[in-house]
């Protein structure tokens, strides 16, 4: 019985590869059907896996057996918990839809497109299933190659540059991550323990006394570099808008929908439990970047002219919110962050599908050339507005719950040692992030919808307006512009979008199903953090106190009372709170006689 989960998971990993093999051998015209069929089969298996999964609300891994060794002694341990299973389900759910959405847009070298797509699916699933860092890394790294080809072969005018940039960014960064992971494994082997790349083993070693604080710090930095590029995090995000701009629709959907989640998943699964102390030390910097990402990148979105770039930048901003929730280091924030990954995958993936459908008809994504498409494509407009609303976090749809939880997590993550779950953010920074995500987030999305969907109808001129698009090679292949598409969405396109819309609505109305599953896992993941944050705060306070007493000697009129020592001066003080006597029982003030 215990082999059943492993068999199911192995089937999910192998089936896409077999599908890719069949595509390579099959006739060109069958490629897309085979691809959709095998990805649907994988989806079915993932549903079976979810059905069998016994640990939905326990936070444990399943199966929990160690190593099933492959050749060369690499222990390819597979194991999932509720969070990885949710992300697996997201991946297997989005992939067939992304393929279905690409039916007409990919008109050359189809076999390559669909085969690479299936390889990508397999690689992503491996990364989500792995309990061994090598297996994780192989999956993580292998997603880059298919995506590189999807962009480089099937992308827009500037596809080569975009592909290479994507490749170099994520590749270089993930090599650094790998070196960090190997370092931990090597250090562990140095102590006389047998070699192991098991995630659990490495994490328990990294927290043991055999590993110094400095080592932890650098290992954490190394891991974060790779994951932050993938997320993508604020200063290293610039590959993403370009990659999205150039990627084909299906590629964009998967890129935004699940590939970016590998970054946050890596942080959640690998980095955070590895080195709590180091994470807390770097957290202020990361939080600063988060807030800059949320506010500044929202404004950058507002200045975009290209619809797809706008949504791509919005991903950067949205992932900033997810990261902020994660860095709140409390159950609300982290659970919200995980939920945010799923919701962002759904709504942004769907937005990219919508934009792709528009692009197929008009061959432009330029907001200056488009307008009022609701008149021409009312059904498309319905979906576009719907997914915009999920994206801006309208309550009742999925985006709201996760956004509100991330912000609430940030809000309650006050730097106070008296709290059960102290953090390093607090209400002020949450307010600034809220301005970015709640107000600016709505601003640019509505600005985009206001121009493209509403307003007087504006279509790019036919016959001459798209001459520059000819470098696609396939855009005019049959001498027809729209690939024989109807003016509004075809039944296939509605079938592509409707499941995502339904899921968005379901997750908005009944999020507790997912929250029940995420909660225990999140609490387990950050179990070590309250202590780490408290230690950090105490160290800060001692440093402040030392400084304060030093100042007290030179200027004797300043008396240092225990209350006043806590928060004075410096950048940290604005984050730290320190007054341990926080919860005054003032209820007596209004007690009635």
């Amino acid at each position: 019985m215990s082999s059943l989960p492993s068999n199911l998971m192995a089937a999910m990993l192998l089936l896409p590869l077999i599908g890719a093999g069949i595509i390579a051998a099959a006739p060109r015209l069958l490629a897309k059907h085979i691809a959709v069929g095998s990805s649907l089969a994988v989806f079915a298996i993932s549903i079976m896996l979810a059905w069998q999964f016994p640990e939905w609300t326990s936070g444990r891994f399943w199966p929990n057996n160690s190593a099933s060794e492959l050749a060369l002694g690499v222990s390819f341990t597979l194991g999932i918990d509720s969070v990885s299973l949710l992300l697996i389900l997201l991946t297997t759910f989005l992939t067939p839809l992304a393929l279905l959405g690409s039916y007409t847009s990919v008109a050359h070298r189809e076999r390559e497109f669909y085969a690479w797509f299936l390889v990508l699916l397999s690689a992503m699933l491996l990364a989500f299933m792995a309990r061994d860092v090598i297996a994780f890394y192989v999956g993580y790294e292998f997603t880059i190659v298919p995506m590189l080809f999807l962009i480089a072969i099937f992308g827009g005018d500037n596809r080569r540059y975009a592909a290479i940039k994507f490749f170099v960014f994520t590749f270089v960064a993930s090599v650094i991550t790998l070196s960090g992971l190997i370092y931990v494994a090597a250090a562990r082997a140095q102590t006389g323990l047998p070699w192991s790349f098991g995630l659990a083993e490495l994490q328990s070693f990294a927290q043991s006394n055999d590993f110094s604080d400095t080592q932890r710090y650098w290992v954490f930095v190394a891991m974060m570099i790779g994951f932050c590029v993938k997320v993508p995090f604020f200063p290293v995000h610039s590959w993403l808008p370009l990659a999205h701009d150039q990627a084909p629709t299906g590629g964009s959907v998967i890129l935004a929908g699940t590939l970016l989640k590998l970054g946050t998943y890596g942080i959640y699964r690998v980095a955070l439990p590895m080195a709590p102390g180091a994470a807390v030390e770097i957290a202020p910097l990361l939080i600063t970047f988060c807030i800059i990402a949320i506010v500044a990148i929202s404004l950058v979105c507002f200045a975009q002219k290209d619809v797809k770039r706008l949504v791509a930048y919005s991903s950067v901003s949205h992932m900033g919110v997810a990261m902020l929730g994660m860095l709140a280091l409390n159950p609300v924030g982290v659970s919200g962050s995980v939920l945010y990954m799923i919701n962002h995958g759904l709504s942004t993936g769907a937005l990219f599908l919508c934009i792709g459908m528009m692009y197929e008809r008009y061959h432009t994504k330029d907001m200056d050339k488009l307008g009022g498409l609701a008149k021409k494509m009312p059904i498309w407009a319905f979906f576009m507005v719907f997914f915009t609303m999920t994206s801006v976090g309208l309550p009742g749809l999925n985006g709201f719950v996760s956004e509100v939880m991330c912000l609430l997590g940030a809000f309650s993550a006050r730097p106070s040692t008296a709290l059960e779950w102290p953090g390093l953010i607090g209400p002020r920074w949450m307010l600034i992030a809220g301005v970015g995500s709640v107000i600016f987030g709505a601003l640019y999305m509505l600005y985009m919808v206001g121009r493209v969907v509403w307003g007087p109808l504006k279509e790019p001129g036919h016959g001459h307006g798209h001459g520059h698009e000819s470098s696609h090679g396939h855009a005019h292949a049959g001498g027809h512009d729209n690939h024989g598409l109807p003016p509004d969405l075809s039944a296939r396109e509605v079938v592509t979008l409707a499941p995502i819309a339904a899921l968005c609505l379901f997750l908005g109305v009944q999020p507790w199903y997912v929250l029940d599953a995420i909660g225990p896992s999140a609490t387990t993941t950050i179990a070590a953090y309250p202590e780490a944050v408290k230690n950090y705060l105490r160290t800060q306070q001692e440093a402040e106190a030392a400084k304060g007493s030093l100042a007290g000697e030179t200027t004797p009129e300043i008396t240092v009372s225990p209350d006043a020592t806590s928060a004075t001066g410096g950048r940290i003080s604005s984050l730290s709170d320190g007054s341990a006597t926080s919860h005054l029982p003032i209820s007596s003030a209004t007690a009635t006689p």
Partner: protein, 792 residues
């Protein structure tokens, strides 16, 4: 109508220069917000608050004690009340399906009217069965629980252990009171719209009624929801329904801009509401009203940041209810179809802010300065909006500003502590303002979109418009609050409490309110005398106010079978230059709804008469049976605010009655002189005011709405745009091209040594990187295998 500004470069920079210091100051003060516990200052502040609480306690403890009477019981048998939400939801889904099918009949309207009517009937049955406050659990919604099983010592501050917000109802007097008029008016206005919107039958018709259904669903969640997150759901839901409906004529750029403006301004308020909800959760450890108000009734005042809760909540209320500083979206929202203006932007949605404060009234007693702030904002808004209303020529805009102004009165009422007065005014206002909007909509419909009060005259003499003209008269009289009208009773309840309250300068606000009431009487009758009285003359509109250009296309089968078109000349589009325009009067659905609303408006005064007769009344009883009980005189405290109050040495009731007579005579008389008897005098007065440099600014400022839109443009819109542009440049040139690609070039230089570049620099270093990774992997494998061999 369209106030799109020419954004010349010079003005941009001047505005920016004006705006930046203010923006910086605002940011600085925002960052300096005392969120508590941040150093000694905050500690001091907290201590001050504590003292303030102690001083305030005597007054509020008595009021809060009444709260214990209205705490709800769990009621398992009432889940059928969920149909009040379920029916509009079903209608919304059906309308969506109809829209997809592009149905060309009135089925969407029929479904919506039936659903809303069903919701009204359900509400009414619920009201009939109502005995005392109850909560009803429908579905689980957001549930996250991470408590380790034990609770911390001090019960109320166990925040951070769970986040639970279920889809459940909190049914008490306030809820039922609100839902009765929301669903009732919703049904009536849907009936009105079924005729009014008939030229759009097809996909757009379904879109309209779908959005109306979504609105009623969201409004139901807002009012009936049992926790703050569900209220927030409804809050944003009505916002999005409003967005969809303001932008209904999406072919018009001004409508799209107005929709966006409404949504964004509401979002600013929403952020405040959200922070207020977070603060409540942190201080009381829960989101549901039951737990929060139970804690307050038991004497808890939350944690040290609790005093900030009301301020953030009121920001949300001001956004939704169009008060200073977030009021400018409401007049622009008149771009929507008129039934929408009546339902959402006059009668129901905009009163959500009043509901929020009434519902959370105990939270507003947490800080002694919270309610006075509400009063001052409300009183000022009422006055400001009334002054703007004096000089507008667009009928709907006048009524929009009057809505803002009347909402200001409601907030004044809440602020001076009479949630009863505020709720009563919401109730009466809902009827007469819906009536005014619908009748102006009927005029607009009849005159091809004409809304300019200078271009229609003598409506009551035009055949077929008698009902419209006289129902409008009822609305105007009620808005002008002539004695013994419903509007009089509710407004005077508010002003009476304000005038007899000598704390926080509330009496001053009362006098300002009386002056505002005079202005109200004047501008209301300015419209009526111009449009409905006087000699018959009219210029038809260009049909662009009310109908999208597809109305022209639809004009051929425009169903006006009961109206003979002269010579087949259709009025749409070109009639006004041919001079053959025939206004077409409204038919049964419109006239019927207007008549029902007029009767409703008259009946809405009944609680006032009951009150006059010395007894309690229905509204008082309902509001008193809710968490807003602290603001109901005679129920919350033995002394009562206004029971036997004296004003200027006279019985306040009698005096106010006399003053109201005076106000009506002055306001209506002034309007009659300038706009009925001697219409030239108004122009002359304006010209003479403009001629003098001393007074010339006044009409100009009023006509330009005190330049608030321009100010906000300079203060927020342009800086945000400029900043966005700047950041985008920084992102793409400095960050990407500069730093990132600069770093990227380093390995490329290294790579040159190893690899002849054949296809661009980047290609080369990718290969180098791949090679590097391969080397690392090989090294790792070898080391690993060797070590493994050694170990075994």
């Amino acid at each position: 109508m369209d106030h799109a500004l020419p954004d010349s470069r010079g003005r941009f920079w001047r505005r920016l220069a004006l705006a930046m210091p203010i923006a910086l100051a605002l940011t600085a003060s925002a960052v300096g917000l005392p969120f508590g516990q941040e150093g000694t200052e905050a500690a001091e502040h907290a201590a001050n608050q504590l003292n303030a609480h102690a001083a305030h306690a005597g007054a509020t403890a008595e009021q809060l004690a009444a709260l214990t009477k209205v705490l709800p019981q769990q009621a398992p048998g009432l889940s059928w009340a969920g149909w009040i939400l379920g029916l509009p939801a079903i209608a919304a889904v059906l309308c969506m399906v109809f829209g997809f099918l592009k149905l060309r009949n009135k089925l969407p309207a029929i479904v919506t009217v039936l659903a809303l009517g069903g919701a009204f009937v359900t509400t009414f049955i619920l009201y009939q069965n109502y005995e005392s406050p109850v909560t009803v659990h429908l579905y689980d919604w957001i549930r996250l629980d991470w408590s380790p099983g034990s609770t911390t010592g001090n019960g109320t501050l166990a925040a951070g252990q769970s986040l639970i917000a279920d889809i459940g109802l909190h049914i008490d007097g306030l809820t039922l009171f609100w839902m009765l008029f929301v669903t009732g008016l919703g049904t009536l206005i849907a009936i009105f719209a079924s005729e009014y919107m008939e030229s759009d039958v097809g996909g757009n018709y379904a879109r309209f009624f779908g959005a109306v259904s979504i609105f009623l669903l969201a409004m139901g969640c807002l009012v009936m929801g049992g926790n703050l997150f569900l209220l927030y759901l409804g809050w944003e839901g009505v916002g999005v329904a409003s967005y969809l409906l303001i932008g209904y004529y999406y072919g018009k750029p001004s409508a799209v801009a107005a929709a966006k403006k409404a949504f964004i301004m509401n979002r600013i308020g929403d952020l405040g509401l959200l922070v207020g909800i977070y603060l409540t959760w942190r201080n009381f450890g829960a989101l549901d009203y039951d737990t929060i108000f139970r804690a307050i009734a038991n004497g808890s005042t939350g944690g040290e940041t609790a005093y900030l809760i009301p301020y953030f909540l009121m920001l949300g209320a001001f956004g939704k209810s169009a008060q200073i500083p977030l009021f400018t979206w409401l007049p622009d929202a008149m771009e929507g179809p008129t039934p929408v203006s009546a339902l959402i932007h006059a009668a129901t949605m905009v009163t959500a802010g009043v509901y929020l404060i009434a519902r959370c009234f105990p939270l507003f007693l947490l800080d002694p300065n919270a309610l006075p702030t509400v009063a001052w904002i409300g009183g000022t808004t009422a006055f400001l909006a009334a002054t703007i209303g004096l000089m507008q020529y667009d009928m709907k805009r006048v009524f929009a500003y009057s809505t803002v102004s009347q909402l200001g009165f409601m907030f004044l009422g809440l602020g001076v502590g009479t949630s009863y007065g505020a709720a009563f005014h919401v109730f009466t206002h809902a009827f007469f303002k819906a009536l005014l909007f619908l009748s102006s909509g009927a005029v607009m419909h009849g005159f091809a979109g004409q809304l300019d009060i200078r271009k229609i005259s003598g409506l009551r003499h035009i055949p077929g418009f008698k009902v419209v003209a006289y129902t409008m008269l009822v609305g105007c009289l009620w808005l002008a609050a002539i004695p013994f009208s419903a509007g009089f009773f509710s407004k005077d309840e508010i002003l009476l409490v304000a005038l007899t309250d000598h704390t926080h300068g509330n009496a001053l606000l009362g006098w300002l309110g009386l002056f505002t009431a005079t202005l109200t009487a004047y501008y209301t009758f300015r419209v009526w005398f111009r449009v409905c009285a006087g000699p018959v003359s009219y210029v038809p509109g260009d049909e662009h106010h009310g109908h999208d250009d597809h109305a022209h296309a639809a004009a051929d089968h425009h169903p006006h079978d009961d109206h003979a078109h002269a010579g087949g000349d259709d009025h749409h589009g070109h009639a006004h230059d041919g001079g053959h325009f025939h206004p077409h009067p409204p038919r049964l659905a419109v006239n019927g709804v207007l008549a029902v609303l007029a009767i409703g408006a008259i009946m809405a005064g009944i609680p006032g008469y009951m009150s006059l007769a010395g007894g309690s009344n229905w509204v008082k009883k309902m509001i008193g049976d809710s968490t807003a009980v602290a603001g109901v005189p005679d129920l919350s405290s033995a002394s009562g605010h206004a029971g036997h109050a004296e004003l200027l040495g006279m019985n306040a009731h009698t005096l106010l009655l006399v003053i109201s007579f005076g106000i009506s005579i002055v306001g209506i008389g002034g309007a009659a002189y300038f706009h009925l008897l001697n219409r030239k005098a108004a122009d002359n007065l304006k010209q003479s005011l403009l001629a003098s440099p001393l007074t010339g600014w006044l009409p100009r400022a009023l006509e330009n709405k005190w330049y608030v839109d321009e100010l906000y443009d300079g203060l927020f819109r342009l800086p945000v745009r400029g900043l966005a542009w700047l950041l985008a440049k920084i992102d793409s040139y400095l960050l990407d091209s500069g730093v990132i690609n600069g770093i990227g070039r380093v390995p490329a230089w290294v790579g040159r040594y190893f690899q002849p570049l054949y296809n661009g620099v980047l290609q080369g270093y990718a290969v180098v990187m791949a090679g590097g990774l391969g080397l690392i992997l090989v090294w790792m494998m070898l080391y690993w295998i060797a070590h493994r061999g050694g170990a075994s």
